[in-house]
Subunit: 462 residues, 2 copies
Amino acid sequence: MRVSSGWSPRLADAGAPTSERLVTALAEDILDGVVAEGERLPAHRALAEELGVALGTVTKAYAELGLRGLVRGTHGRGTFVSYRASPTSGTVDLAMNMPPRLLSDEVIGDALAASAHRVDAEVLSACGPPGGRLEYRRTAAAWLASSGLELPPEELVLAHGAQQGIVAVLMAVGRPGRPVPVYTEEVTFHGALSYARLAGHSVHGVPIDRQGMRPDLLDRMLALDARAGAHAGIRPVVYVTPTLQNPTGATMCASRRRELVRVARSHDVLVIEDDVYALSEERTAPALVELAPERTFHVSSASKALSPAIRLGMVKAPCAFRPRVADAVRSLGLPVSPLICVLLDELVGAGIASTVRASIRDEGARRTALAREQLGSALFLAPKTGYHVFLPMPPEHARRLAAAAQDAGVLVTDPDSMLADPQGSRVGGVRLSLGAPPMAELARGLSVVRDLLGAAPTPSGK
Amino acid sequence: MRVSSGWSPRLADAGAPTSERLVTALAEDILDGVVAEGERLPAHRALAEELGVALGTVTKAYAELGLRGLVRGTHGRGTFVSYRASPTSGTVDLAMNMPPRLLSDEVIGDALAASAHRVDAEVLSACGPPGGRLEYRRTAAAWLASSGLELPPEELVLAHGAQQGIVAVLMAVGRPGRPVPVYTEEVTFHGALSYARLAGHSVHGVPIDRQGMRPDLLDRMLALDARAGAHAGIRPVVYVTPTLQNPTGATMCASRRRELVRVARSHDVLVIEDDVYALSEERTAPALVELAPERTFHVSSASKALSPAIRLGMVKAPCAFRPRVADAVRSLGLPVSPLICVLLDELVGAGIASTVRASIRDEGARRTALAREQLGSALFLAPKTGYHVFLPMPPEHARRLAAAAQDAGVLVTDPDSMLADPQGSRVGGVRLSLGAPPMAELARGLSVVRDLLGAAPTPSGK
């Protein structure tokens, strides 16, 4: 339904305050391209009358949308959409695990322009102290605090993205030239697997359930391997993603986390906690780094909760390992671009980072809801948040489904790349990344996968 | 000598065309802070009359300075200095090997602002194809072409800086978990040494002379080690910097390069050519990658010849290794920031990159001339270009000199970090990086080192 000014919002889903519902409705239509860049929104007063809400409600909603970079008010002329929805393309990309694009071009452009005058000899200086310049670590700590995790800036090591942080930790915990046994979820982040293999580490897949890695089976595997002498003189490492695990979407409850820490302590192993998908400021369970700071490497980033353009990774290492992690980051090349640090600082300072993080969480929830609707019981989990879902099935089915989807113009992540044990894996599956495509394309992609699931054999033999 | 408008140039050093000499004189005084940011330069006509040159000569010189970002014309008001010289600080930093800061804040700011409108969903996409998006590889190839090396964009792999490129190559040439024997100059780039050690590779220091690595001795070492079984099943790698070697400043002539290639071929070893210091568009000798493309990994970057802010590394690998190098870059984390690629593209496109590269070469020559003047015969080489010089001396003298210099407020690179064999090294020395400090500070730093050399024992026993 369009009004004279081109557009009128739906206001369904009662429950939340009216201004929030208005923001949600407006934002969705802008993100989906229902109202295009440059279109003028209804005047405040006209919209308030049409919807029967207070004028202040509309004003508040428009202001919030302005902060998100979705609209821009031009004095005396009205409020215009300033977000360009991604163009639809032939192929639906469910392969790249990118956050929904909520940081608008215009907001990044503004932050870049605002950063421009802060670029000076200091900013350009390539080498800071190990771990990164303190002011940038403060920005990183402020970013982490906005997800509810308070870590002292002095204890952070900055990296060029979370993956560089993980690589640096794997270098720092090993001895030169000696492989480290890495225990991880049987399906997990392909980037960590790929480095571990190239570096010659041995990877051990720990069975998962709906809360992720199973501590009881980790316990048993560590005990057996230790008895078989697999750890001779080397401390094994557990690489685990307790929140919104990639690819399964599993999140561990507090007691599962405590149990994992108990097992790690009893075998004296180190833990790499990949926390890049922590999107919420209200954590429902403590981070492993809070439960076992003496053995946990906490790795996080700004890319997955903000934008892939903001490539800043951060590692909190146990005290004794911090210099080695910083050294490892340095040995991997120039660690973090100061331009990116300045950019993040602009975004955190203006409150944009938190707003965008919340929007990404909301948009992720909308997209996973769509996936639940389309794929229902075929999903490993029906997460209420995050922006990736997982269809469990035997590896050979997963390969076949991925190929068939590609033929139908839908890309999914290479199923084998996520397997801790590509040869012997009993489990496997297809990850669907919901963040990248525009909503209409996502719907089409999901329906293609649903049809293929109906046609192809699934693990339960449907 | 100051005129009413605040400043008048010296025009000594006849030889070059007048407008070039004018540019040089003006640029030096701006870089040195003799004329400060915001000062107005003499009017074109007034300066032409004062110097007795044609009006066009002054106009041309001012335009060139404008392109470099050192001055800015304001219509009807005159030409103003737009470069802020680095503030003098207490400490003279001769440790960080940074190019002289010739890319002005204003030019970077302008390029950032110009990039801002190019930031869109495409640019933000984190994952491109392995090796980087083709348009960015074209930018990288255009940058390389401006240093006289033509490489096809399709064959380049982009990385987050040259060091990430070197690390990726070292990962790609080895087998998982098995150390690679790395042969390199007995003093060399500490970043490569530091990764090689952390990854457990064995490092072998090849003696150098005034042209860098000695192929005859490399030949002998490879033969002996092969006979001793040191290479069992693994192809050794030679990591070498043929142009403006770091730290010695040595550059190999064409026949030395051919001899090195002959040795590499006869032992069938791989070669990593670190070419980050190629500053000139007129190469005096072919690159190793041109002589032996079948075994040479050519690594370059934009950081050392342009600005540390532009962290774009590029690797040209032998055909069969290209996918492995691209994989290794990916396994190290997000490879290269698209923002940086767009920024470089802005700078290359506007002709600024070439101009700044030439200015950095000229400024480097001015700084090495100062080092020759101050330190003369104590230098390993008296290079006419580049921006680092090396004082050879036994490792224990080097450590003592570095400590004494630090006490006197002058930082130099940790001498041990550059040694291929820190325990057994016969050679050693102190690297002085001339690029970072303002000229006046550099002069003070060099005189401190000169005085310490006079006071302390030097290798020749002075």
